[in-house]
């Protein structure tokens, strides 16, 4: 590898890791928003993946190839419990119960000290998530969403987003699609969480709360959800910007919150407003 590239990777390694992981989180948000659902539990699912992964590695010493799928499975089960009943209800029920999930898990991580290390979190997690793995996964996921988006499944998803009732009348099994999307998104967020845990070597209970949930939402809102790449671009911009705008310091969260307000009010298609063509 060229020497400058080595230097570059060394200097910005954390940032580059974070970009890839945030890209995966943005895709997990895309996965539910693409069919008009709003989950605010992506941070919570990420946290479940992170804690599951870290504990399996630290306490049981399981190999990483086994840790990763289990880190995706645990949030999937929780998504099933929360999503099962809400998906037949008005969309606000899913939003509310997923925010509440994040809050309650944060308290549980803090209180279950013997297992989770309490407020101090878990540290000394071996750094097993290589950049290759993170970006390989990101590329595969983008390609996967792209391919699915150009099939009848993608058309059904966009139809649901535009007019759920009409989509049902077209023969789309609405509860199945919603549950499938929520579970897929929980798995993706869980994977991202586990990868993050195995690249930062430290996790703590406050990383997966309300603020993280809002930040992940802002990725998808800023980027848009017309194509799978759009939310990833949103994540890259919002992850790199604060890094460049260090002086924002305490006001970083103000900035993230305002992005959401402005995007919903004035930029409903995001900064990458193109839409995937869904016919051959």
């Amino acid at each position: 590898m060229a020497e400058w590239l080595d230097d570059f990777l060394f200097t910005y390694e954390n940032l580059i890791h974070a970009l890839g992981i945030h890209g995966l989180l943005a895709l997990s948000m895309y996965c539910v928003m693409a069919l008009g659902q709003l989950s605010l539990g992506q941070a919570a699912f990420m946290g479940l993946g992170a804690y599951t992964g870290a504990l399996l590695t630290l306490k049981l010493g399981l190999p990483f190839w086994l840790v990763l799928p289990i880190s995706a499975l645990v949030p999937a089960l929780v998504a099933l419990v929360i999503g099962g009943p809400t998906l037949r209800l008005n969309g606000v029920y899913l939003a509310i119960s997923t925010i509440a999930l994040g809050e309650v898990l944060r308290v549980l991580y803090i209180n279950a000290e013997s297992l989770t290390g309490g407020a101090l979190g878990l540290s000394g997690i071996p750094q097993k998530a290589s950049l290759w793995l993170v970006y390989g996964l990101l590329a595969v996921c983008i390609a996967g969403f792209w391919a699915i988006g150009r099939s009848r499944i993608g058309r059904a998803m966009e139809a649901m987003r535009e007019d759920e009732m009409a989509a049902g009348v077209m023969g789309v099994n609405l509860p199945l699609y919603k549950l499938g999307a929520l579970i897929a998104s929980a798995m993706l967020a869980g994977l991202a969480g586990s990868l993050a845990a195995h690249s930062n070597s430290f996790i703590g209970p406050n990383e997966y709360g309300f603020e993280a949930a809002v930040t992940i939402l802002s990725f998808a809102l800023l980027g848009g959800i017309g194509t799978p790449i759009a939310p990833v671009i949103g994540a890259f911009v919002l992850t790199a910007l604060p890094e460049l705008l260090r002086p924002l310091a305490d006001f970083r969260l103000v900035f993230n919150g305002l992005i959401i307000v402005l995007a919903v009010l004035f930029l409903p298609r995001g900064i990458v407003p193109f839409r995937l063509r869904r016919a051959p």
Partner: protein
């Protein structure tokens, strides 16, 4: 003739209001069946019950001999039911062609993983679907707009696109809720021609329409609803001469005119 769809004692109550009140209707296979009645008579609610968007307060529905009263909309679509809406419901951001292909949802069988891997089977099915969608668009006269954004179509074009989208599932029973509403006389005549051709394609039609000439010309059998109740049923000639229908209709029409005149 056997009944493709039967409603028995179908009732829908919204709080105090009986929007559909103990209605019995049989729609014969292969027929064109009209539902008429003044505004607010419960026609759209009746359609919502048939398509599964509403659960009836009581009563039952059978489609092709099977009880479908408790089935969700998608399951009824799989059984051969399709509909259009009184207030057009387009997937506006999608292209015209994509709208029609969305209507094929229940017919496309290639599994998700074959789409993921873009296997030849999946691609062949998509090509075939596109060709069929183009045929439907030609049938309704929208082939030249296939790649345009559906939300940008003119009103009458959107109505025709909705019909094409509904036909894409190859329904046996097609419900049309005021298909000619908002169309000019020329468009309405074209629509009647189109619907007559559908009859020859083995599609049973159940349609709600206000344009009496249109209904009388097209329908084999007509059911009249007023305040949620069925007040008459028969062939076009019987209905035209039925005194209770004339009264319900003219009564309300006159009332409507008066109301309009006062409002203006």
């Amino acid at each position: 003739m056997s009944a493709l769809l039967s409603a028995r004692g179908l009732t829908m109550q919204f709080r105090g209001l009986l929007a559909v009140n103990a209605v019995d209707v049989d729609v014969a296979a292969g027929s064109v069946h009209g539902i008429i009645g003044p505004n607010g008579a419960g026609k759209t609610t009746f359609f919502n019950l048939i398509s599964g968007l509403l659960r009836p307060t009581s009563g039952s529905l059978t489609l092709d001999g099977q009880d479908v009263t408790a089935l969700p909309p998608y399951a009824r679509t799989r059984m051969g039911l399709a509909r259009t809406f009184q207030n057009i419901r387009m997937f506006s951001d999608m292209s015209v062609l994509e709208n029609v292909m969305t209507g094929m949802h229940t017919r496309l069988k290639a599994p998700g993983w074959s789409a993921l891997l873009r296997l030849p089977g999946f691609r062949a099915e998509e090509r075939e679907a596109r060709a069929q969608a183009m045929e439907l668009l030609e049938f309704v006269g929208l082939a030249d707009k296939a790649d345009g954004r559906s939300g940008s179509l003119a009103y009458g074009e959107q109505r025709r696109l909705e019909i094409a989208r509904a036909l894409a599932s190859r329904p046996r029973l097609l419900l049309l809720d005021e298909p000619a509403a908002g169309m000019n006389p020329a468009e309405t005549r074209e629509l009647a021609v189109l619907l007559k051709q559908l009859g020859q394609r083995d599609v049973t039609l159940l349609l709600v329409e206000h344009d009496m000439g249109f209904v009388m010309d097209l329908c084999d059998r007509i059911t009249v609803l007023n305040f949620g109740r069925k007040i008459a049923e028969g062939g076009p000639r019987d209905i035209r001469n039925d005194s209770s229908v004339i009264e319900a209709y003219l009564g309300s029409k006159v009332a409507e005119r008066l109301a309009k005149a006062h409002g203006a």
